[in-house]
């Protein structure tokens, strides 16, 4: 199959799906008199937000799969960790200076070590500056004032990124070269471990995640005679997602490490022979994926207002479905799949309220259908075994 043929087939496929979607939409709107334009806009905002969140999580799945062919089952738990880190960053600050110092040393030390190994910071002067920045910054953030959601988001992204790297180093790195089934089993075990560790450390109960009221204050604007209600977070999520995607794209296409990453995704062995430090690239992949998951986690928690240790399960599964829809291993595919899944979920529930009990079932059905009939997804490549 030539590339152009493949492309044309996937275009046709998406075109067909899109047409079907539009037709369904039209039919449904026509048959629902109370389905006003304002509601379409409102649903659109909701869908865009949800889709962006799925896209951010899906990127982590797809990047890891692209590099080491592992379905990182524990990615949903990374997402959960991101939420909790931000939660504690917001509720425990300002800390007692002693506790802040201890946290700074432990957290900052780990962050420093991980960052050093990720970005080849061997030069003492640079390392010193970075250390100063990290330790000083962390201490300053923790000790003196109550953290807002942006600081909490940034801190949580950093901490979660490091957690992802540690997860890879502890659970997955020793299995390099093992059968893929063993890696998958390990990932499942890691997921269970983190879930239960979360219950143990953070407590099993549901907690309210009260970010600034600015983001959750109901606002409205008028379209003609109708009013659309929304909250700040519905604007913030797509905006933050767009910024992150832009940065990610720059990183992957323009920097040396990004190129090394793409080379490793193509063929890890050859990349290694060409002088790419594959372990570093894999760790970096986990770092970036976890950063994105943390961002998604924090924004998800602001959006839905509560967190609990098992919150990573369903978003994780759905984001994985999104990654598969887009074609696992492909970055634009993950974004496309995430948005698509967000739109499908919101509009299906909006059009067919009776189906909302099957919302979660629906994600699994979609996942199975895609894997059975189009495992390469919308834009992915075919990954069949050679004889």
């Amino acid at each position: 199959m030539t590339a152009s043929k493949l492309a044309s087939r996937s275009t046709l496929f998406s075109l067909f799906a899109g047409l079907l979607f539009v037709a369904l939409l039209g039919w449904r709107i026509a048959s629902m008199p109370d389905y006003t334009f304002a509601r379409i806009v409102q649903d659109f905002l909701n869908a865009l937000t949800l889709g962006s969140l799925y896209a951010l999580i899906a990127l982590g799945y797809t990047m890891v799969y692209g590099i080491i062919r592992l379905i990182n089952f524990a990615h949903g738990e990374i997402f959960m960790l991101g939420s909790y880190f931000a939660f504690y960053a917001m509720t425990l600050t300002p800390m007692h200076w002693g506790l802040a110092l201890l946290t700074t040393v432990l957290l900052g030390g780990t962050v420093l070590l991980v960052l050093r190994s990720l970005f080849n910071l061997e030069e003492p002067k640079r390392t010193f500056l970075l250390a100063l920045l990290i330790f000083g910054g962390t201490f300053f953030l923790l000790a003196f004032r109550h953290l807002g959601w942006i600081e909490a988001l940034l801190l949580s992204m950093l901490a979660t990124g490091v957690a992802g790297v540690l997860l890879e180093a502890v659970a997955y790195r020793p299995l390099r070269g093992a059968p893929r089934e063993s890696m998958l089993i390990t990932a499942i075990a890691a997921s269970f471990f983190l879930q239960n560790m979360g219950q143990l450390l953070f407590g099993p109960r549901v907690r309210g995640f009260n970010a600034e009221t600015v983001l959750n204050q109901p606002r409205s604007f008028a379209i003609g005679e109708e009013t659309v209600y929304f909250t700040g977070i519905l604007i913030v999520v797509p905006a933050v997602t767009a910024v992150l995607l832009f940065v990610l794209n720059l990183f992957v296409t323009r920097t040396r490490l990004g190129k090394a990453m793409r080379a490793t995704a193509q063929d890890a062995e050859v990349a290694q022979m060409m002088g790419v430090n594959v372990n570093q690239v894999i760790a970096l992949t986990f770092f970036i994926g976890s950063i994105l998951a943390a961002a998604a986690g924090v924004m998800y928690s602001i959006r839905f207002g509560q967190i609990h240790p098992l919150m990573g399960l369903m978003p994780g599964i759905k984001a994985f479905t999104a990654a598969v829809i887009g074609g696992i291993g492909s970055l634009p595919g993950a974004v496309l799949g995430g948005l698509l899944l967000g739109f499908i979920e919101i509009y299906v529930v909006s059009f067919f309220p009776t189906l909302s009990a099957y919302k979660d079932v629906f994600a699994f059905v979609l996942l199975i259908l895609i894997l059975l009939f189009r495992p390469s997804g919308l834009v992915g490549e075919d990954l069949t075994e050679k004889v």
Binding site: L113, I185, A190, L200, V365, I368, L371
Partner: protein, 450 residues
């Protein structure tokens, strides 16, 4: 012949032992642990057929067990438990018609309907059939996939089956989130589970050491070669999947009757995870291993309760510190015995330092209120199981048994794969042309290195 007698004697002894246990006082905890071992053993052996012998990672076993559990529950539910206040969400049709008792009396088989034991056998059988049917439906489309895609598809099917009983339309058969309570069945004795377990052992051993078992293992070893040697992949995969689903359904039915209730939380993904730990621990592909692994995990779950008791917080800090220091010392020991340098890596020093710091903190602040407050480590057993599984995958992927089975020959001989003195001599004679002038046509110098 001797080996058959030994097997029979062992079974007899175990049965006698169990009988004596039931007669003694204070053994109810042990007996219920044994029942759980038998039930989970059946499930583990059936999962082992797919994951171990066929070499396919299936993650949907909890779905099949759930179907078995619900079918058994519905069929066995006695008249008084069928009253609407108990089964509010069940439809009238399901309440009136899905009743094994009614069916049997309708067929004029009152003598079966009067015996709860015979009824239970039939209910379990139907539960198995229902699960097996589902196995075909799930397996036939998905088994052409490979590797982790297949694992995810089976996982998806399992989760769909788990989520469905709560949906309003399906609740007419499952009673929704309320679940079904008051299921009679094995009447609290160990014999049901024990004999079912024996039957499963017998069945799966026979299957493994038959032509079909060999075909399954051929598929595991090399799918392409197996197909080239005439093994019909689709048929054998679906066959194994169906047999496995059948016994998963039976195990689900037994578990439901052990709990005397079933709801959607009874068979969640943790069930499959639990079984996965069991068979990985015992050794994927080995029936003996599946039994050993199940015994270990059930014992951890049943007797690991002390891990989740309330303790003062310093116990947690102290054990955390000791664990870290222990891991530090252990890694140093391992690296030393394997002659790796440096004996202690830099990052391990950090680990040790944190452990030491934690230890010092515990000692110095032992009287602070945050040290003496009571805490409870919920989920410690699950964490332990997850850690066990990760450690197995990293350090001993073949588990306890590898792919080997227990057999009397292994203990008492004769070992057919080890050459006798005579065979060794003959082999050397064949391999050495100087000793063997007659066979100069076909020289076999490679055999000495075999």
């Amino acid at each position: 012949m001797r080996n058959h007698l030994l097997t029979l004697a062992t079974v007899g002894l175990v049965t006698l032992g169990l009988y004596l246990l039931t007669q003694m006082d204070g053994t109810s905890g042990l007996l219920s642990a044994l029942r759980l071992i038998f039930i989970w053993g059946i499930a583990a052996i059936s999962l082992n057929l797919i994951n171990g012998q066929l070499g396919i990672l299936s993650l949907g076993h909890h779905g099949f067990m759930l179907v078995g559990g619900y079918v058994t529950a519905l069929l066995m539910l006695p008249e008084k438990e069928r009253r609407p206040f108990r089964t509010r969400l069940l439809s009238d049709w399901a309440r009136d018609n899905l009743d094994l008792d009614k069916w049997l009396r309708g067929l004029g088989l009152d003598f079966i309907a009067n015996s709860i034991d015979l009824k239970f056998i039939i209910a379990l059988f139907i539960a198995g059939l229902a699960a097996a049917l589902l196995g075909v439906l799930v397996g036939a489309p998905s088994l052409r996939l490979k590797g982790d895609y297949l694992a995810i598809v089976t996982f998806g099917f399992g989760e769909i089956i788990r989520l469905l009983p709560n949906a309003p339309e399906v609740a007419a058969f499952t009673n929704g989130p309320l679940g079904i309570k008051g299921i009679p069945g094995d009447a609290g004795t160990i014999w049901w589970t024990f004999f079912a377990f024996l039957f499963v052992l017998w069945f799966f051993t026979r299957l493994k050491f038959s032509s079909y078992g060999r075909a399954f293992e051929g598929i595991r070893e090399d799918e392409i070669a197996a197909e080239a040697m005439g093994v019909n992949l689709a048929y054998h995969k679906v066959l194994a999947f169906t047999i496995s689903a059948f016994f998963a359904g039976v195990a689900g039915g037994l578990y439901a009757s052990y709990l005397q209730s079933v709801d959607t939380q009874t068979f969640n993904f943790f069930v499959t995870f639990f079984l996965l730990v069991a068979i990985s621990l015992g050794g994927l592909g080995s029936i003996t291993g599946a039994v050993i692994g199940t015994a270990v995990v059930v014992l951890v779950r049943n007797y690991g309760g002390f891990l989740e008791q309330p303790y003062p917080a310093w116990v947690g800090y102290l054990s955390g510190a000791l664990l870290m220091l222990g891991a530090f010392a252990f890694s140093a020991y391992i690296r030393k015995t394997r002659r790796l340098r440096p004996v202690i890596e830099t990052k391990h020093y950090i680990f040790g330092a944190i452990g030491l710091a934690l230890l010092l903190v515990t000692v110095f602040f032992r009287n602070e209120p945050w040290m003496t407050q009571t805490v409870q480590f919920f989920g410690m057993r699950k964490i332990l199981l997850a850690v066990i599984l990760i450690l197995i995958m990293i350090y001993r992927r073949e588990g306890v048994m590898g792919r080997a089975e227990f057999s009397w020959k292994l203990i008492f001989g004769p070992r057919e794969d080890i050459p006798s003195e005579e065979q060794r001599k003959q082999d050397a004679w064949l391999s050495n042309p100087e000793l063997n002038p007659g066979a100069s046509e076909t020289k076999e110098d490679d055999d000495a290195s075999a």
